[in-house]
């Protein structure tokens, strides 16, 4: 992801905006092409998946034509683009629902988890990063860096299982798998799909508390990974800023040290930091695949894993496209931020 970040330069003119939009569109098309091709090389017969293996050759042929599989590949691809753009990813074999409905149902759970994790990542990673940059080379700087490196080295599924063992089974401090205690499930009607919000809307405070309680462990784990990344980025941004002449000038002028750090220096890394935060949210979507498996968290990651293990290709490719599209969106968003918020970019 970082490569894209480096590439994103401030947008100055309308022409540039158009160019970026074209780039996003072609990238999205490429994304569709890849998923389309993956769908073609799968050893599973898509017709058989629909008609069942008892169907007669006539029924089979009819279904094949109905699915457009007799057309040349490029035509099939065009149809595929049309379908995806209108939100039609086909029907999931596993759930018997349209894939788009499934994704809309499960995505809020992932959003809730990854969002909370990002907040935790920001609250922990950025202060620690600033601290490391200011006290560069100190013992604490080294400790922080090592903790950060651990975050890049620990297999998240393993850490999750270990944490569950410790905090749930042994210490009994935190709840076990799931988004909420199971007997609370199905009580709150989904409005946003984000349980902590829905439970407040429904006035079910017990469920709200329970949901928050269930969020802590998986969100903290993902948050740790996010903070490891944010810490490293913040540290390097801050070190660069603190080397600048204006910082020296401010210090010479007698501006208080905390103001120099939290005001001047941090203010100047705000834009790149926000971009990095947006990107880290994207990586968390990815991390959620493994975390959700460990915590039986019914989000997009678990949906994707289940579909994968059951060779439910429509669901797999649908989820892939959605996550890819979110990634693209995040990149676009960070480009946009430069334009709106960075005065130098105007």
């Amino acid at each position: 992801m970082s490569e894209l970040l480096i590439r994103t330069r401030p947008i100055r003119t309308l022409k540039q905006t158009v160019r970026i939009l074209v780039m996003v569109a072609t990238t999205f098309l490429g994304l569709l092409l890849i998923t389309f091709l993956i769908g073609r090389i799968v050893p599973i017969d898509p017709v058989l998946a629909v008609v069942g293996d008892k169907a007669s050759p006539q029924v089979y042929e009819k279904a094949r034509i109905a699915m457009g599989l007799h057309l040349p590949l490029w035509k099939q691809f065009l149809i595929y683009i049309g379908n995806v753009v209108t939100g039609d990813f086909g029907t999931s074999v596993l759930t018997a629902n349209p894939v788009i409905d499934d994704i809309l149902r499960v995505f809020p759970a992932t959003f809730e988890l990854a969002g909370t994790a990002t907040v935790i990542g920001i609250l922990v990673g950025i202060p620690l990063g600033i601290f490391s940059a200011v006290k560069q080379g100190s013992f604490l700087d080294h400790v922080t860096r090592v903790i950060g490196l651990f975050g890049h080295s620990l297999p998240i599924f393993w850490l999750g299982l270990m944490a569950l063992m410790l905090f749930y089974v042994r210490l009994d401090l935190l709840p076990g798998p799931g988004r909420v205690d199971f007997f609370y499930e199905g009580i709150v009607t989904p409005v946003t799909g984000i349980l902590t919000i829905d439970s407040i809307v429904a006035g079910e405070w017990e469920i709200f508390r329970n949901a928050v309680y269930h969020l802590i462990l998986p969100a903290s784990l993902l948050g740790y990974y996010s903070s490891a990344y944010l810490l490293r980025m913040t540290r390097s941004f801050m070190i660069e800023q603190l080397r600048q002449e204006y910082i020296l000038t401010a210090r010479v002028k007698g501006v208080k040290e905390w103001k120099v750090i939290w005001g001047h220096a941090l203010g100047n890394c705000a834009i790149p930091l926000i971009t990095v935060i947006a990107l880290s949210f994207g990586t968390l979507l990815e991390g959620s695949v493994l975390t959700e498996t460990v915590f039986a968290w019914p989000g997009l990651g678990l949906y994707l894993t289940n579909s994968l293990l059951n060779a439910d290709m429509n669901a797999v490719l649908g989820s892939t496209i959605v996550v890819g599209a979110i990634f693209l969106g995040i990149n676009l968003f960070s480009d946009f931020l430069y334009k709106v918020m960075d005065p130098r970019a105007r």
């Binding site: 596993l94 007997f183 499930e185 039986a296 060779a311």
Partner: protein
């Protein structure tokens, strides 16, 4: 910075003082692997978990006593008559039954439900169509006499219990015609809707099904029989034994359904947990493809039967979860053979291989679903085969992949399990001992066909047994059939499944029947 830490500290205090709530008194929460469910339409249901759901949400025409399978008792059909020629069955339908929707149940619904199974022709339809019903003739064979009488004509004079047992299976569930047809689309008989919907009259109604996540059942207020004791049943999909056990020991669930032998053994020490067991009809076996040049040699087949560490597996990886069984009819069925002729005997196997001129060994592959206990069994078999010089390569895949290959007869050895579809012995004889057409494009594809085992003689014997109306004589016929099967078949039948449920000590009367479609929640209390 300090403020932030204080805030985090306060937040954690708020959380930590939250006490551990146990599950509510009127709700049963269980962890169960339900990712195999692809449909909840009784005309299609063919998986364990969905069959269990349907058993509690739908009523069937006839039921059998779970403690004594030979005792059949009325369900939606109050009584029945069989004509002297053994072809016509007349059912009196129970009055005063209403569906959960409020609609009254009558002969129309029964006829509709049975015809629907035949017309939709999904994977479980053969349970009914084997009696000669076809989409073309159902209008004549399954008919309404009056509002509370149904007449069914079968194509041959089968043993009566055979047909009656088939009606006790999920395919014999009665669905609400009005409700289903209200959701019909393009003449699909409401299939698209009922796949995820509900239109039954059972003790529980389906509130929610989210595939691979959760099923919630609520007590049916309109239920005609004994009112269900618990208000709600929550079935949560939890992968893995360890996860289920954690939740059970912590009291976050009342029941765990998929624990491994190891976890069950550890739970025996826990006083808060009790363990309930029931032998199920499922058998574990190896299918030896007769298209393979080694496996078609009788001595090789025989040798392989001596190269399995039956006792070792039973005591370790399967401990308490399966019991040694080597015939195709599981214990509990009419005519089940309980003799155990085979055990691990490497010398004997080597001698047999030498006789076949294969003492220098050869290589075979085995398609294995990557799920316990099958993977562990495969590894054990691999090591005992090796002792006689047979190199076994294990090819793992998910259930669908291995099954697709098996169905196409492209395997060497397939390790799998087979669960009976209904409680009559013909269900297993039909698949293990019948293969009317061994050609690649045969219409009837039994397990014998999948292993390319051409057995015209044995097929005839199995056909004769299903038409025998004298029960004792019929049982003897099956015993003989199984002995012969044990001797020559390309099936290494190894174990019979035992279903084990671990539950909190306060859970009572969770009824485990001999089959998954006879596990009942109705009488369960907490």
């Amino acid at each position: 910075m300090k403020k932030l830490f204080l805030f985090v500290f306060a937040l954690s205090l708020f959380v930590i003082q939250t006490t551990h709530a146990s599950t509510p008194k009127d709700t049963l929460v269980m962890a169960f692997n339900i990712d195999e469910i692809i449909s909840l339409d009784p005309a299609e249901i063919f998986e364990f978990a969905s069959a269990e759901c349907a058993a509690n949400a739908y009523d069937r025409l006839i039921n059998y006593n779970v403690d004594n399978v030979s005792e059949i008792y009325p369900g939606i059909a109050e009584s029945w008559d069989i004509s002297d020629d053994g072809l016509t069955y007349t059912f009196k339908i129970r009055k005063g039954v209403t569906f959960a929707s409020g609609n009254k149940l009558s002969a129309d619904d029964v006829v509709f439900s049975l015809r629907r199974v035949v017309l939709l022709d999904k994977s479980s339809a053969f349970i009914l169509t084997q009696f000669g019903f076809t989409p073309e003739n159902v209008k004549k064979t399954i008919t309404k006499v009056d509002d509370y009488t149904v007449k069914i004509i079968v194509d041959q004079a089968y043993a009566p219990t055979f047909f009656l047992y088939c009606l006790t299976s999920t395919a014999g569930s009665v669905v609400d015609k009005k409700e289903v047809m209200a959701h019909e689309k393009d003449g699909d008989l409401g299939y698209g809707w009922l796949k995820t919907g509900y239109a039954g009259s059972g003790p529980y109604t389906l509130r929610t099904w989210k595939a691979s996540e959760i099923i919630i059942l609520d007590a049916n207020k309109n239920y005609w029989g004994d009112a269900p004791k618990l208000k709600r049943i929550i079935i949560r999909h939890i992968v893995g034994s360890a996860g289920q056990r954690m939740l059970l020991e912590k009291g976050d669930i009342d029941m765990a359904r998929n624990l491994t032998a190891d976890d069950l053994k550890s739970l025996e020490k826990n006083e808060d947990i009790k363990i309930q067991k029931r032998a199920k009809g499922r058998v574990y076996y190896l299918g030896l493809n007769q298209k393979n040049k080694y496996l078609k040699i009788p001595e090789v087949r025989q040798a392989l039967k001596y190269l399995i560490d039956y006792k070792g597996m039973e005591q370790t990886i399967l401990s308490g979860k399966s019991t040694l069984h080597q015939a195709f009819l599981p214990k509990g069925f009419l005519g089940a053979l309980e003799e155990i002729p085979f055990s691990l005997d490497i010398e004997k196997a080597k001698a047999l291989l030498k006789k076949a001129g294969l003492e220098n060994g050869f290589t075979l592959t085995m398609d294995t679903r990557s799920a316990e206990p099958v993977t562990s069994m495969a590894l054990s078999i691999q090591s005992t085969f090796a002792k006689a010089g047979i190199k076994l390569e294990i090819i793992t895949g998910d259930g669908k992949q291995t099954l697709t290959k098996y169905r196409a007869r492209r395997h060497d050895i397939y390790i799998g399990d087979w669960g009976p579809d209904y409680m009559d012995p013909h269900t297993n004889a039909d698949t293990f001992a019948r293969n009317p057409d061994n050609s690649d494009d045969a219409k009837f594809k039994s397990l014998a066909w999948r292993n390319a085992w051409d057995i015209p003689e044995m097929t005839k014997k199995a056909d004769a047994a299903v038409l025998e109306r004298n029960t004792a004589k019929r049982a003897r016929m099956y015993l003989d059939l199984q002995r012969e099967h044990q001797r020559i078949s390309p099936f290494v039948i190894m174990f019979q499944d035992i279903e084990v449920v671990a539950e909190r000590a306060n859970v009572k009367n969770f009824i485990l029947g001999p089959s998954f479609d006879s596990n009942f929640y109705q009488y369960t209390t907490k």
